[in-house]
């Protein structure tokens, strides 16, 4: 296996062109007990460090890992919001919880400051909660926070719709209004976890980046589906709203990570957030 070399220029002894490629690194935080996987899926909070991450990377891969050549792809997902409680007015819609927000970036491993890294996974919102916890990456240089979803009311819907749009989420209005159920375009969020279902409606689809990572809701009266653990970009879908044909008015919980809970007289909670980390190494091919 080739030792990575950041120099893109030729070695001098050869006139052959040089190319760079990004090689995926396997990773396990506990290589002695856990098999290395294509990415780290952090579902409960943990404390690690730059040094521990590097030794985990080196132990998880059979070839030399150069910290200067490694980049970290971070997918941070805020927790989902809980569903809303019906107001009692039949003319006022009762919405499911908004999904957690998503932050996706890539940083050089070398740019992470030495020392402790705290990965805090925000807890999903309870039904009716109009505030959200955050999912956070905290290191010596500061914190990176990703907001969670909240329960929305008729009054706050447009405000939150605009806010989610500003953060790159594409919540489809027809699904926000839950007019169509089961239509092919029922991707309630083309850029993140699914929104919870309104009363009498199913939860929203999740999707992120690649349509193949889309996840449908779990069905009427069912919790949102948890992300496919083999797919980096897979996120949780929304929980169904209450009001099924058996007369249950219970909203269902969102799928992990980030799915919103369904509306109901006993609204569903939002799913917890999450952090997924994928590591790559740049290598030069000659």
């Amino acid at each position: 296996m080739m030792v990575p070399n950041l120099a893109i220029v030729g070695s001098g002894s050869s006139s052959a062109p040089a190319f760079v490629r990004k090689v995926p690194l396997s990773v396990s935080l506990d290589p002695a007990n856990e098999p290395a996987r294509p990415f780290l899926d952090v579902v409960t909070s943990l404390i690690t460090s730059k040094e521990a991450l590097f030794s985990a990377l080196q132990e998880s891969n059979p070839f030399p890992v150069d910290p200067e050549a490694v980049v970290v792809e971070r997918l941070m997902i805020g927790p989902g919001g809980g569903g809303s409680l019906p107001s009692g007015d039949p003319d006022v819609r009762t919405y499911g919880g908004l999904p957690g927000m998503v932050r996706h970036d890539e940083i050089r491993f070398a740019d992470i400051p030495d020392g402790e890294i705290a990965l805090f996974i925000g807890v999903g919102g309870y039904g009716g909660d109009t505030y959200a916890n955050t999912t956070e990456w905290i290191d010596a240089s500061g914190s990176l926070e990703t907001d969670g979803g909240v329960a929305v009311t008729d009054d706050s819907l447009l405000y939150h719709l605009a806010r989610w749009r500003l953060h790159g989420h594409d919540l489809q209005p027809h699904v926000m209004l839950s007019v169509y159920s089961g239509a092919p375009e029922q991707a309630s969020n083309r850029n993140g976890p699914g929104m919870g279902g309104a009363l009498f409606e199913r939860g929203g689809y999740s999707m992120y980046g690649d349509a193949r990572a889309a996840l449908s809701d779990g069905g009427f009266g069912q919790p949102g589906q948890d992300a496919n653990s083999e797919i980096f970009l897979s996120l949780g879908s929304g929980g169904s709203g209450g009001g099924d044909d058996l007369g249950s008015m219970e909203g269902q919980i969102g799928g992990r990570p980030g799915g919103g809970g369904g509306a109901g007289y006993n609204p569903g909670s939002g799913a917890d957030g999450g952090i997924k980390l994928r590591f790559w190494q740049w290598e030069v091919i000659r």
Binding site: S45, L46, E116, G122, V123, D129, N133, E145
Partner: protein, 64 residues
């Protein structure tokens, strides 16, 4: 939900609630308090009040 790890309230050094997280993760810079039913009302932004021994909403008080 019973299979999930407990939730913890993450408190900054100045007593402000930073966020509420899943699982115990003790960092060097934050306090962790398990979220029990008694602390169900606590949300991010609340401040610890030593007199009341409780977390209170700073925006709800006139500081009398």
């Amino acid at each position: 939900m019973s299979a999930l790890a407990p939730a913890y309230i993450v408190v900054d050094p100045d007593g402000r609630v930073r966020t509420i997280v899943r699982g115990f993760a003790q960092s060097s810079a934050h306090g962790l308090i398990e979220r029990t039913e008694d602390l169900r009302h606590v949300r991010p932004g609340f401040i610890y009040d030593a007199d009341l021994d409780d977390f209170v909403d700073p925006s709800a008080s006139t500081g009398v």
